[in-house]
Amino acid sequence: MSTPAIKIEGLTKDYAVGFWRKKMRRSLDHLDLEVKEGEAFGFLGPNGAGKTTTLKLLMGLIFPTSGSAQVRGRSIADVSMHREIGYMPEQPYFYDYLTARELLDYFARFFGFSATERQERIGKFLRRVGLMESADVQLRKFSKGMLQRVGIAQAILHDPQVIFLDEPMSGLDPVGRREVRDIILELKKQGRTVFFSTHILSDAEMLCDRVAVLVGGKLLGVGAPKEIVSMEIHGMEILFEAQPGSPLPPKLTEGATHTGDRYRIEVPEAEVYSALDELKSSRARILSVTPLRPSLEDYFLKLVGRQKNVASSTEVVSSGAAR
């Protein structure tokens, strides 16, 4: 069996809170996770779920209260492992007195690239994230979206095998989001492992081989988006256009939403053919028929709701201090 790209075992993080810092708040609770090489893995959860905490633990920015993790078989405590990983923090902020080119040059130096190689890589990745024209502008003049692109460029500058992206789509306009999605897909195509956190479920559905759902510091489920989202169809959505002078059967128009002559109705799967027959006899123009499945969003909300019902307080009182 090959070594997993990421292996997390019982990773737990408690933070000391309160004036006397005697009370502990559990931010991550015994997380167990394995990500295979070459996977695009989505780490889902609402704000405060522990996604950023997990990424910061993996990057060695904070230290676990208990548990361990390995990236490509090497402990996260081993800094030399960082040669093989790339990381973009959430809402990245960089030295604003540097230009994008200077910043990438600064980071590239840590990997020991020669001057020529640095120059080549910087040009290549600035072009890749669409920042070539702003390469020599100081970062203090960059928009949030542009900083996000710099963040991605610095994370993949050294061709890492495992890339960690914390909320890579946040703050981006639709074009920027599509570009980031393309970059993730391209990295996946190259065989890289991409582990990214997000609370935007459509991104995860679109990009991920597997996703993990984290709520309140606890892992609630791992699986392919399709496994998590049941394939069970709970209805059909029909969009159609009514013809002037042809009245529609009241059965279909009850509860329908419409704009002008365009209607949207939801019918049980068993009744879809009879509904279509009735629409045909009313000379309505069918625009689309779509099966209605619970989305990842529905699943997510259900899990969050269940978690709240359990009312599991993540606070534990302890006299020990977190590292």
């Binding site: 920015l61 904070i62 800094v79 990983i85 973009m88 007195y97």
Partner: protein
């Protein structure tokens, strides 16, 4: 030197330059020009003393202010602005980052000090119209100021690892001022009859960095000979102290969670 701290050091220097830190040189230059013109007009026979005293005091003061005010933000600012996150995700140890920051600020202070020293030399030459062999003591005094700045920078960096800039400024300034009176603290221990005060004074005297020994401004102003032993003693003392403080800072910073 390890390449990684060097990369951080160069960037720290670049940050200081781009933040227009070296603009203080303009004030220094204006002050030295005004002093040279004024002293040349009113002093009789003590022009050299006044210029050297004023110049060296200003070099020391400007340097200390820079070391403290930039030093206390060296790490704190990186954590607050989260610029450190991307850096530490690269193959770099936290101690390497700290040493780089220290060297970078020291490099900035050294460039600043050398430029001010050139300004002082120009003012001195304008007033006395010659350089004397006794002026060598000015070079030694400037070297001691640099050692003093290295110590202050290390202290500010140490506090910057776990404390806010305001508190770090107070701690560093407090230790600097107390360290200037180091011999007086020792004397208190010698003259007191209380064994407790004696013991406390002794501990404070040995723990606090002795900044008094670095101050040879008066000796330089009066062209007094500075013993050779003092040069190596001060060098060894500052070097050892800086290493100890940097090790303590690294130990503290290496186990710290970055929130």
């Amino acid at each position: 030197m390890n390449a990684i701290p060097g990369i951080v050091a160069v960037n720290t220097f670049r940050e200081a330059v781009r933040d227009r830190v070296l603009y203080n040189l303009i004030f220094f230059a204006l002050m030295m020009m005004a002093a040279a013109v004024l002293v040349g007009g009113v002093s009789i026979g003590i022009e050299r003393d006044v210029i050297v005293n004023l110049g060296l005091t200003a070099i020391s003061l400007f340097g200390i202010v820079m070391a403290i005010f930039i030093g206390v933000g060296l790490v704190y600012k990186e954590i607050e602005k989260r610029t450190l996150y991307s850096v530490l995700a690269k193959p770099i140890q936290r101690w390497q980052f700290l040493v780089g920051k220290f060297v970078g600020l020291l490099l900035t202070l050294a460039v600043n000090t050398v430029l001010m020293a050139i300004g002082l030399s120009a003012a001195l030459f304008y007033v006395t119209r010659k350089f004397e062999p006794g002026d060598g003591t000015i070079v030694i005094a400037i070297y001691f100021i640099l050692l003093e700045l290295a110590l202050v920078t290390a202290l500010a960096l140490f506090f910057s690892c776990f404390s806010s800039p305001i508190l770090s400024t107070l701690y560093t300034l407090g230790i600097y001022v107390a360290g200037m009176f180091s011999p007086d603290i020792r004397d208190i221990g010698m003259v007191t009859s209380s064994p407790v005060v004696k013991a406390v004074a002794k501990v404070i005297y040995y723990v606090l960095p002795n900044f008094h020994n670095f101050n040879t401004i008066a000796a330089a102003a009066h062209s007094e000979t500075i013993p050779l032993a003092l040069i190596w003693q001060n060098t060894a003392y500052a070097g050892l102290y800086v290493v100890v403080i940097l090790i303590a800072a690294s130990a503290m910073f290496s186990g710290r969670d970055l929130k």
